[in-house]
Subunit: 249 residues, 2 copies
């Protein structure tokens, strides 16, 4: 990929056209290098660096990822952050493997996010899924792009590890994950043992909550994180993270 194309990866439509996304900065690139040892598609990532990163790359680039040296001006045009990092990678999308996805239900549970909008929320959720392991993340149509640079940054490298799928319609989930739970304002308490008995956990959009009618059709069981305080609702990422913790407790 040419440096000119790389800056287009700021935009979702070009990411999807080119099948690549941006990873910025030393810390994330190190995570990428570690993950690439076990995930061959990541070894096709391409590094773009400014001159001053030459030694650093020489020291860390054990897998011999392809490296292109560019000027500071070109770097600041590519980067999403206000202070350009000096090192950036164009990374191929994770392969979407139909079979793997179909079989996933036997070994993993799923977190289904309905029209999640905030990149920071999705990044934090991926990070938590990466921390605990054992979950697949399903995104509904109309969700934020998981390859958005803000999501990638907030995921702190989890984007390389957590299996996720985009554009999954809610009504197709039950074929793979028969028993469905959802988080809602009125439901059973989370600490009930039965909370553990489901294959897929559905969370609604930040503002509008869960799609109640669709969930009724799927016979989804509603659970609630019981509060007693003065506030209307929890942050979406907080609710998801607490549920993941409860399931892995």
């Amino acid at each position: 990929m040419k440096a000119d194309d790389v800056k287009k990866l700021q935009q979702r439509k070009y990411r999807e056209q080119l099948g690549h996304y941006l990873v910025e900065g030393e810390h994330l690139i190190l995570e990428l290098m570690k993950a690439a040892i076990f995930q061959p598609h990541l070894a096709n990532a391409q590094l773009f660096i400014t001159e001053n990163y030459a030694d650093w790359v020489h020291q860390h680039n054990k897998l011999k990822l392809r490296v292109t040296i560019i000027g500071h001006k070109a770097m600041s045009q590519i980067a999403d952050t206000q202070t350009p990092p000096g090192i950036i990678a164009a990374v191929p999308f994770a392969p979407v493997n139909g079979k793997e996805a179909a079989h996933a239900a036997h070994s993993e549970r799923a977190i289904y996010l309905h029209e999640i909008q905030d990149p920071g929320n999705l990044g934090t959720i991926l990070r938590t899924l990466g921390w605990f392991g054992g979950f697949r993340c399903l995104l509904s149509p109309g969700s934020v792009d998981p390859y958005n640079p803000k999501v990638v940054r907030a995921s702190m490298g989890a984007i390389f590890h957590v299996p996720f799928e985009q554009n999954v319609p809610l009504d197709t989930v039950q074929e793979r994950y028969p028993r469905i739970a959802c988080l809602d304002m009125q439901g059973k308490a989370l600490r009930e043992n039965s909370f553990h008995n489901y294959d897929c956990y559905v969370f609604g959009n930040e503002a509008r909550g869960v799609p109640r009618e669709q969930l009724d059709e799927l016979n989804a069981t509603a659970f609630t994180i019981t509060g007693g305080g003065a506030i209307e609702s929890l942050n979406l990422a907080t609710a998801v993270n607490i549920c993941i913790y409860e399931l892995r407790r």
Copy 2:
């Protein structure tokens, strides 16, 4: 307060000088109005609105908060957000009541945040504390300003409810909260019953973690959120929120 002073409230030094902070937008102002019923200092908040908000204010301003109508240009200069909300309030700081703080130990537990930097993290933590109730939030010197507009926004109104204190040195905490726990990478599992036996829970900065030496002097017991995944660490707000959930489970 004059409209000219209000825009200065974007800056921490003026907030501290004037003892007021900004609250932007319909949703937060409604939360402010609800909270003001029980908290007299909030009834001294002053609303600044553009003409088109006159009817809305007429309908909702039951407590007769002082209202000033300003132009769209003045509004966009005051507001922190890119799309000015049309309604904004200058709100007095919560009273710092020494006695109340001293007595708090008898009825509340505390979350101590050491040099927390990210306003989104602090806002989300306050929101979670507001949801569950029963905690006081203590901020170390060098922490982000809880009256920062980004914190206020992410708190979703919890800023009006959760008791908090700024500039609390870690070595003064034990007088009020004798039994201290901290979250660290190596400690007992969170689900152990003994996790509930503490008065104050200390969390470190986003990048540097907890101040281990100081905590050793306080005989703090370390706990860990056990993960098994591929990621180095949890997001700070996620770790705090999971602990709060566990304590209120």
